[in-house]
Amino acid sequence: MFGNRSDFDRTLAIMDQLRRRMDRVFDDLDRGVGPEPATGGLPRVNVHDTGNAFVLRADLPGVQEKDLSLTLEQDVLTLSGQRRGDAPEGYAAYRQERAPYRFSRSFAFPAKVDTEKVLAELKDGVLTVTLEKAAEVKPRQISVRVA
């Protein structure tokens, strides 16, 4: 029975092939993007030392303010939260590189920070946390007197 495919079966097979080809109409002309790298963890961050403060920047596209939590304990800052899925309903998915995820990452800073002076801003999918250094560790200008 299986060895003897009818013309109808063949027609269906061709239609199937055609449909699969149609699926590829939205071609990616660049190289596709693989899964997020396992090393370093998410979100990826940049941390800078501006002298008076540490500035941490994290890419958090699609993360809502209510889904983000920041805690500072001693000199350790913890970012945690989640990025919710945003797949629309009633659509077929052709390509999915943006996965929903939960995250938690902690950062220790190399100098004492003033826990009262921490500013966090979430804008355009980027979180910026500015942690002012404690007064005793801030760089000080030393004036030189001419004797």
């Binding site: 109409v25 939205f26 071609d27 990616d28 002309l29 660049d30 190289r31 993007v33 693989g34 899964p35 790298p37 370093g40 990826r44 961050v45 940049n46 941390v47 800078h48 030392d49 501006t50 002298g51 540490f54 500035v55 920047r57 994290a58 890419d59 958090l60 596209p61 699609g62 993360v63 809502q64 945003d86 797949a87 629309p88 009633g90 659509y91 077929a92 998915a93 052709y94 390509r95 999915q96 590189e97 943006r98 190399p110 979430l122 355009d124 999918g125 980027v126």
Partner: protein, 116 residues
């Protein structure tokens, strides 16, 4: 190697999702750090190009650098059925939602069956 690094080392390939229904193709792209002003979308012939600049550089000395604050670029081939005049883009919280509507004449139509 970072898979988001494009072949051109000065550009980063943004992550996207592509969806389709009867009416449109919907493209979602992660573009953190991009504002409306720094985003350009071109539908030229049968290609669609997203280009965006990141202007959020940080001052001071770097202690950790995992993010590449490079410009984004990615090109797609789009089918002729897309109505180029009605492409709509929305940018919110670093996520682009690009609606690519299909031309009305090419949408599948329901054919009513009359009982004779």
């Amino acid at each position: 190697m970072d898979p988001t690094r494009a072949k051109d080392s000065t550009r980063v390939t943004p992550r996207v999702d592509v969806y389709e229904n009867d009416k449109e193709i919907l493209l979602l792209a992660d573009l953190p750090g991009v504002t409306r002003e720094s985003l350009a979308i071109h539908a030229d012939g049968d290609t669609l190009t997203l280009e965006a600049k990141r202007a959020d550089t940080l001052a001071g000395s770097a202690l950790a650098q995992e993010l590449e604050l490079r410009d984004y670029s990615r090109t797609f081939g789009i089918p002729p059925s897309i109505d180029r005049e009605r492409i709509e883009a929305k940018l919110e919280a670093g996520v682009l939602r690009l609606h690519l509507p299909k031309q009305a004449a090419l949408m599948p139509r329901k054919i009513p069956v009359r009982v004779g």
